[in-house]
Symmetry: C2
Subunit: 119 residues, 2 copies
C-alpha cells in the first residue's frame, strides 16, 4: 500500500468534483487554454482557475503562461497510482474469494465423505 498511499488523497480529492473530472476529460484529448477549458463548464474564470489549481496541486495537470494565455496539459501517467491502488484492492479481494471457494470445496468434500461413511 505504502508506495501508492502518499499522494492518493489529493488525487482522489481532485477527482471528487464533476467540473474537475470534465476538465481532465477535455485535457485527455489534448492541451487546452484555460478559456477553452472554462467554456463548456459555464463557470466564471476565477472558479475554473481554482479548480485548475486543485488539479495542479494533485499533480494531474500542469499549466504554463505564454504571453497572456495560460495553456494546460495532462501530466502523463498521473492517474497510475489510483489504478495501482484499485488493482491492489482487487487482488486482495479476489484472493479472499479464492480462499473462500477453496474452503467451501473442502466442506463439500468432507460432506460427501461423511455421506459415504454413513451405513
Amino acid at each position: 500500500m505504502a508506495k501508492y498511499d502518499a499522494d492518493l488523497s489529493p488525487i482522489f480529492q481532485a477527482l471528487a468534483d464533476p467540473t474537475r473530472r470534465a476538465m481532465l476529460e477535455r485535457l485527455a484529448t489534448g492541451p487546452a487554454t484555460v478559456s477553452a477549458l472554462a467554456a463548456p463548464t459555464g463557470l466564471r474564470l476565477p472558479t475554473v482557475l481554482r479548480h485548475l489549481s486543485v488539479l495542479e496541486e494533485a499533480g494531474l495537470v500542469r499549466s504554463a503562461k505564454d504571453g497572456r494565455v495560460r495553456s494546460c496539459a495532462l501530466v502523463p501517467d498521473a492517474l497510475e497510482p489510483v489504478r495501482g491502488w484499485l488493482d491492489e484492492q482487487r487482488a486482495v479481494w479476489t484472493d479472499r474469494l479464492d480462499r473462500l471457494d477453496a474452503y467451501v470445496m473442502t466442506l463439500m468434500e468432507e460432506g460427501a465423505n461423511d455421506r459415504r461413511d454413513d451405513p
Copy 2:
C-alpha cells in the same frame, strides 16, 4: 462518461481520506466489526463511525447491527465505476497519442519524399 459519472463524486470523496482507504483495505480481507476496524486507526469510535457513514453513503460498504455489534462488509464491485472512468480516460489519451504518432509519421514520410525530390 454519463454512465459512470453520476455516483463518482461521492466515491472519490470517500477515497480521499487515508483512514477510509485503510478501512476499505481491511474490509477487502473480509468482514469486520466496527471495533475491529477502529483498532488499528487509533481513532475514537465516533470518528470511525463518521468515516463508516461516508463509505456507506458512497455505496462502498454496508453494515448491519447484530445485537450490540455492528458488522461491516465491502460492497462487491463498488469500485468498478472508478475503474471504468480510468479506463475511459486512458483510452482517450492513448487514442490521442496514436493519432500524434500517425501525424509525426506522415510528416517524416513527407520529409523523406521532399528530400528524394531534391535535385
